[in-house]
């Protein structure tokens, strides 16, 4: 339905083609100026990689002025941004930008989706959720949401992210946005079930689990965590986003302290897009006993931020496993990559999103999205996580088959590894 709305808007514009042409040119030029000035003023490297940015504007602006379509203007701006030779610096097509921003409501169906290959697969179904009640199973493929087909959206985004480490994050997020809606509203989702049959499930969006929080100008988000023992001697803590530090850090501290005699501990940040960066330092403080250690360094335009770890009075010194996937981004990568570099944790799962820079996405006057980085982050081992991500020590990837068998490849691998370590 959301994509249909975009098409309807486009149809309306064609009715006033001449007037729209002048207006389009103006909006494309305004968009170009915004992009050019933003990079000049806010891009983390003030030298802009040694580029003569003024000459570049003089070269591209007249071409954008002559562009007869948004697509043409977008391609020119993308060519200009490509000169910076960095990832996460791109113009996102209108329909993709709308998907990234999200137009769904807060209501959830309890389905966690990961795009594996070209397929949006159900990675987990929350117990007690609408999806669980409707009999949705892990490993099913999502084909339609709210009456719209998923494949065209994935194909559109794939053009932008085909070779980027961000691919899984952006594609999974776009599908998940369409699995959210107003609490209490009904929706129909199309799947391919475990037997390969097309099925539909009618469900009602429910309030998400966790605590609703709002941090600054970020949209309201639900912070959800899960603290348990995956075995009597192995602690486990999952966090969906790094927000609400007062509650999260207390809960995390209690989880670690209650597991002081455990054989090992597992921290699960799969699907966690990041949040407040400083929380990575606070969480690491429960596992690093030596003072003066740091996760990495953030390079802003005019200053440098060292991500220093402040050890807690009592730290957990046993084996630590961190679970990540392609939708683990930003603070998740800073934490996982830093602990890996320090030799303090073993990382399990799949390559992370490589979005460890604070990059922002703004809407342009012509309706396209504009993503650009505002800082550079170097992990303690000297690696830039941006565009590369964290490579797990143990690659443990889910497939449709493993999901249909209700297996969790990364968690299982982490449990096996901890079991092989000596007792404390």
């Amino acid at each position: 339905m959301k994509w249909t709305a975009v098409l309807l808007c486009a149809a309306a514009f064609t009715l006033t083609a001449h007037a729209q042409s002048d207006d389009l040119r103006r909006r494309n030029l305004e968009s170009f100026d915004h992009v050019w000035e933003t990079i000049r003023d806010k891009y983390w490297d003030p030298k802009l990689g040694g580029l003569d940015w003024v000459s570049i504007r003089d070269r591209f602006r007249p071409e954008v002025e002559k562009a007869s379509s948004t697509e043409e203007a977008r391609a020119l701006m993308d060519r200009m941004l490509a000169l910076l030779k960095v990832t996460h610096c791109a113009i996102l097509p209108t329909e993709a930008a709308l998907s990234v921003h999200g137009m769904g409501g807060p209501g959830t169906l309890g389905i966690d989706v990961r795009v594996i290959g070209d397929h949006a697969l159900v990675a987990s179904v929350a117990p007690g959720s609408p999806a669980s009640a409707a009999g949705v199973e892990m490993g099913w493929e999502v084909t339609q949401a709210g009456g719209d087909k998923v494949a065209p959206v994935l194909a559109t985004l794939d053009k932008t992210y085909a070779t980027s480490t961000l691919r899984e994050l952006m594609l999974s997020r776009a599908v998940e946005e369409h699995l959210h809606g107003g609490i209490g509203q009904r929706t129909t989702v199309g799947f391919i079930d475990g037997d390969g049959h097309g099925v539909e499930r009618k469900m009602t969006f429910a309030e998400p689990p966790g605590t609703l929080t709002q941090f600054g100008y970020l949209p309201p988000m639900y912070v959800d965590m899960d603290s348990k023992r995956v075995r009597p001697d192995i602690g486990y803590f999952r966090l969906n986003v790094f927000l609400e530090p007062g509650k999260v850090m207390d809960a995390f501290g209690a989880a670690v302290q209650s597991c002081a005699g455990c054989r090992g501990f597992i921290l699960d940040v799969r699907g966690n897009p990041g949040g407040i960066g400083a929380m990575a330092m606070g969480l690491a403080g429960w596992f690093v006993s030596e003072r003066g250690k740091r996760l990495g360094t953030l390079y802003l335009r005019d200053s440098t931020l060292k991500f220093v770890i402040f050890p807690r009075a009592e730290t957990f010194n046993g084996p630590l496993a961190v679970l990540v996937d392609g939708a683990s981004a930003s603070t998740s990568e800073i934490l996982a990559g830093g602990l890996q570099d320090l030799g303090r944790a073993r990382v399990f799962g799949t390559q992370t999103a490589g979005a460890a820079l604070p990059s922002v996405i703004e809407m342009l006057p012509n309706g396209d999205g504009f993503q650009y980085p505002v800082a550079n982050y170097i992990s303690e081992g000297g690696k830039a996580l941006e565009g590369h991500g964290v490579t797990p020590d143990t690659i443990a990837a889910s497939t449709r088959e493993t999901l249909l068998r209700h297996e969790d490849a990364a968690l299982d691998a982490a449990i096996r590894w901890i079991s092989q370590q000596g007792r404390l």
Binding site: T213, Q214, F215, G216, Y217, L243, E244, P245, G246, K247, M249, I276, A278, M279, M281, G282, G285, E290, R291, G292, R294, L300, R301, D302, S303, T304, L305, K306, F307, V308, F310, R312, A313
Partner: protein
């Protein structure tokens, strides 16, 4: 021709600097007088300031309570809904911080020296103890005011600070320098405004600080002197006490910042 033009422009710039400027000590002493005078400061033994701390660009703000007392005790609590309660303070010679994000920590090194300098109660009247050198550097316009620019060098070896005192009112309008933190050193700029008289002393009720690309605004809504403080006012939180005990039990470790000896503390900014 262009060379002569450039020389003329350069000459224009140089002229104000050749103006006879007052000695730095006179500028700072005038500031003390303008804010009430040494005797007025000395009547106060402690204070409680309440107000708001905000990050306007990020839409974040919270209630702040700052308690200070002779000679250098402080305790500040900021409560921000989406973050939690942040606390920092100086208890005797221990500078500490409890952050809901980073956890509890004992402040060390150059950062500790900065914190202790700022913790000095009635700081302006103690400037001669805290700064080994103060030099007038010129006149500069800050907003609508001509200000005398004074470079002050902390006696504890900290980063020099530049103060801008209004020629008209004698008040401190702006301060620039480099702040030492555990995460690195940051250039900062603070603007002071909305001076109000409380019990004979003028205090800035608004401070806007820019550092690391962020702007922080501090707005005081109430300020009281000589309050009947409970004995626990500057007690360290339990988690800090645990860290202090642990540190005492361990051999000292080198931190990433340059060390500052405790006996070199007790310095302060003239504001």
């Amino acid at each position: 021709m262009n060379r002569f033009l450039m020389l003329a422009i350069a000459g224009c710039v140089i002229l104000p600097a050749q103006e006879k400027l007052p000695p730095a000590a006179a500028v700072i002493d005038r500031y003390i007088e303008a804010t009430g005078g040494k005797a007025a400061y000395e009547k106060h033994q402690n204070q409680i300031a309440k107000g708001t701390l905000s990050f306007p660009a990020q839409g974040i703000s919270g209630a702040m309570t700052m308690t200070m007392a002779e000679p250098s005790n402080t305790s500040t609590k900021v409560e921000i809904g989406a973050i939690g309660t942040m606390q920092e303070g100086v208890s005797g010679d221990v500078a500490w911080e409890v952050s809901p994000m980073q956890g509890p920590r004992i402040v060390e090194g150059a950062e500790r020296a900065d914190v202790l300098r700022e913790a000095r109660f009635n700081a302006p009247i103690h400037w001669r103890e805290q700064y080994s050198k103060a030099e007038t550097q010129g006149v500069e316009r800050v907003g609508d005011e001509d200000c005398v620019k004074v470079l002050m060098t902390p006696s504890d070896g900290g980063h020099p600070e530049t103060m801008y005192f209004s020629r008209k009112t004698g008040l401190l309008v702006k301060q620039t320098g480099t702040r030492a933190t555990a995460m690195g050193d940051f250039p900062f700029e603070s603007d002071f405004s909305d001076y109000r008289a409380v019990d004979g002393v003028l205090e800035p009720f608004k401070t806007a600080e820019k550092a690391a690309g962020q702007e922080i605004q501090l707005t005081i809504s109430s300020l009281q002197f000589n309050v009947d403080l409970p004995p626990s006012a500057f007690e360290m939180p339990a988690e800090i006490q645990t860290l202090v005990k642990k540190q005492k039990a361990q051999p000292p470790e080198r931190s990433g910042t340059s060390p500052a000896a405790p006996e070199q503390s007790g310095t302060s900014n003239p504001k």
